[in-house]
Amino acid sequence: MLEDILRDEGGRVLATLIRLTGDIDLAEEALQDALVAALQSWTREGIPQNPGAWLTTVARNRALDHLRREAKRRQKETEALLSFVPGHGDDRLQLIFTCCHPALSLEARVALTLRLVAGLTTADIGRLFLQPETTVAQRITRAKKKISVARIPYRIPSDHELPDRMRGVLAVVYLIFTSGHHAHEGSLDSRFDLAEEGVRLGRMLVALMPDDAEAHGLLALMLSTHARRRARLDAHGNQVLTAHQDRSIWDLEAAAEASRLLERALRRRRAGPYQIQAAISCLHSLAPCDVEIDWPPILALYDLLSSRHPTPVVAVNRAVALSKVAGPEVALPLSSAFGASKSGISFGQPERISCASLLARKKLPTPTDRRLLSR
């Protein structure tokens, strides 16, 4: 409870301090001091009425102390901190765009977003990605140095850049989510779950960008997928295909929330890949059982997806939908087009192929993945 408040409010305070000072290290140090002070004071005297304002004030004063201690006083930053009036808007969106800037490597974008926006420690991130903490710390330090030296701006991109940059942000959040979905068993002892972090970041994006249809689509897709998390693996840790999953342990609340979000997104009439994938996922969830899945609309959605984003995974899934609608004899010739039959991958196993392509991107097969692929 207290930890959740500190993490949530801490993220906002950090974003504000970075905006004011333009110095990520200074902001992190000041926030750390404020969090320690809060933990001591709040456990003794209870949580204040406005924890965010409390933290902001303390962190700002700590940042000023840090600046005063420096041999060379930094006038601009000091003035920005002194003239700051609490209670203005949310600065986290700017921070997300900086963390997901295309001039940073994808690994750096993921690590920075988890560290600065989601508030995980480098140790947490290392455990989740099975990497030594020092590797993660170095990656983050290098990225922060590039942000400061090359002057990666801290702002919401202008209108003409926004669609491209927003796609980049959504891709980072989705990558965090899917990394969690294919998590290694070794990461299970972590306090955090990457899939949950992805959903949490998705909620943040929807709140910060309420007019963005694809942000809604991404959250819907993640929630709809996440709704099946308990049914994804069998007792031996092997992946269970959606069709064979025990529907009684699906999280119906999450699935229903996904549908509501998707409806809201589709009303904006700006369909994108996340909304289309969310729609497909929601149609699977809506069917009371495997044989009642409504395939024609799913096929139509795959047609749309493959016309705009032709990837091998989409092609395979489309062929599966086509075989359900028109019979395997219609869909089978398509399989040779992408060499599915040659590699020994048969129909009805789209997940296996999706998984293989995810692995290829991730380059780190988990034991679960390996078992699935070797079956």
Binding site: A103, V149, R151, I152, P153, P157
Partner: protein, 138 residues
């Protein structure tokens, strides 16, 4: 205002006079536009890398001066220091530094958007954008 070096890498080849004129026209167009925006702080086009000489002093300061013909250490006419596979060896690819602009820009986004308009960026080459040291002092 920060200054960024936009280093132009492209494959070298024999250009016909017409091709050469077209490349120069594209560069003139770019530098006029960027110049009018107050972005260009300098720049040069370099002669062919065949005219380059690489200098290296072996054994520290005051040691033996080694000259190599070409843009790489131990290239043509010199001794290869270490044999690597063609994919790893920049000397085996024809892509070389062909020139640079110095761009005065507010931030990296501005520098990147100008770099994308340098002819080699869309002519099959690439532009490496690096911040120059010293701009942070202002």
């Amino acid at each position: 205002m920060p200054v960024y070096a936009a280093l132009i890498y492209a494959e070298e080849g024999e250009a016909t006079p017409e091709e050469w004129a077209a490349i120069m026209a594209d560069h003139n167009e770019f530098s006029e536009r960027a110049g009018a925006a107050g972005v260009v702080a300098g720049g040069e086009a370099l002669q062919d890398s065949n005219t380059a000489t690489t200098v290296h002093v072996q054994g520290g300061k005051g040691g033996e001066v080694i000259h190599t013909d070409g843009p790489f250490l131990g290239g043509r006419g010199g001794q290869k220091l270490e044999r690597r596979t063609p994919a790893e060896d920049p000397a085996e690819t024809k892509e070389v530094l062909g020139g640079f602009y110095l761009l005065k820009c507010q931030d990296l986004d501005e520098a990147l958007s100008w770099a994308a308009q340098i002819p080699e960026a869309w002519n099959g080459g690439r532009i490496e954008v690096r911040p120059c040291i010293g701009f942070t002092q202002e």
